[in-house]
Amino acid sequence: MSRPLTIAEISEAVRSGKMTARKITETTLDILKQQDSSIHSVTKLLAKEALAQADAIDALRSAGKPLPPLAGVPFGVKDLFDVAGHVTTAGSIVLNDTLPAKQDAPVVKRLKDGGAILVATLNMDEFAYGFATENSHYGTTFNPRDTSRMAGGSSGGSAATVAAGFLPLALGSDTNGSIRVPASLCGVWGLKPTFGRLPREGAYPFSASLDVVGPFAANLSDLATAFHVMDGTPAAPEPKISDLRIARLGGWFATNLTSSCQKALDRACDALDVKQTVELPEVAIARACSFLITAAEGGNLHLPRLRRVAAQYDPATRDRLLAGALLPADTYLQAQRFRRWFRDQVHALFREKADVLIAPSVMCEAPRRDDPTVMVDGKSVSARAYLGLYTQPLSLPGLPVLAAPLINPDGLPLGLQLVAAPGKEASLFAVARELEKSGVCGYSKPELACL
């Protein structure tokens, strides 16, 4: 089975007639059927709809009509996006009795309108509450770089399927790091756009104050292409790298890193000739507030169902949501006040000191699945609770963050976050392009045992 790997190659193959959209779709479905058992990234194949859409693309070409930009590009979605005719599970069985979605989520529709072909829904932590993609209903997703390692979560199926080379594009959602953490552990590119920039209607909610949706891709160009189709805007001109003030985040973001991660970050900063280090204030409280707001809003969202069918939830999800539902209103309101204060501090930093900030997205390589721990402050602690150490504080101000796969010559992929002021995704793409060009970021497809 062979098929072009990238969005650019696939759309060009279809446009030129080198391959039909049907052939690409059939090959992709075969790959997923035969090889996904090695990583468990897929929850449902959508073969019938995908082949019908592929035939429509091929008919357009046969009729000599112009093809949309993503013609024939297969993609998958985290199992919380509405797909017309299917029940949106959000990684749970709790919603199984709800009616099938009447229409695709707007971002899914935009990609389909752009010619991309939806072939599968992808695994996730139940209701997106986790960093592991260990799902008691749909199984555990493995990291394709080393299947004994965690893929990260909650959009782990999306990151893993792209990292494995099964799909060139997948959608996820990010509340506290659910795009950035799995992208980094699996060695792919991910984008958490500015809060509110992409429509999140039709994506099953978790925390209304923090949820965003975004893409994963195996290379930066594909990530940017997908983002602009999802955004419904032409690609904005990217600023010159020499015009950008780039700074490294110190303090909180410079502690608890493994030596490999420290060295990889140093290489990235050297490649960009970064001289300035800046600090954000009260980062520990910012992380606490992301945690508290998520718990309270998630708990509130699920409370009516928890009263009726608590036993249907994964016990770990249930207990987190119940604790969140019990948080006092005072705590939630204080956290929202802090959110406003922190946002003002961050905006001031962008006005006065920097255009793009660099921070790690994880402190280490993907933890082992049989020992899901990380080291924080000299102690071995739960990876599930601490993998978001660097992503959670940056969720709070709603900034756009690009997760870049940081090459680790000593082992498995690491990750960095490029952070910009709201709406400045183009600056992130400019800096990321430089990192990709300099060879410090970006991985190719791994050799899975089954391939």
Binding site: L292, R318, L322, A323, T331, P422
Partner: protein
């Protein structure tokens, strides 16, 4: 806030009752553990001084 596990258990069960949640014995230990984590985060947040004019983010624009 109290540090005693037993008192925390009473507090959690009282809050649950006020919200009409039936906390089964199966879930009580997990809820208590998660509540302890959230309590730690709340204590951290309480160290921050707010001016009275700092409003909750509410209609939030990044």
């Amino acid at each position: 806030m109290t540090d005693s596990r037993e008192e925390n258990s009473l507090l959690v069960r009282a809050r649950a009752k006020a919200l009409d949640i039936d906390l089964s014995p199966d879930c009580l230990p997990g809820v208590l553990n998660n509540t302890a984590l959230l309590t730690d985060f709340t204590r951290l947040l309480q160290q921050h001084h707010f001016v009275d004019t700092c409003e909750p983010a509410g209609e939030y624009e990044p």
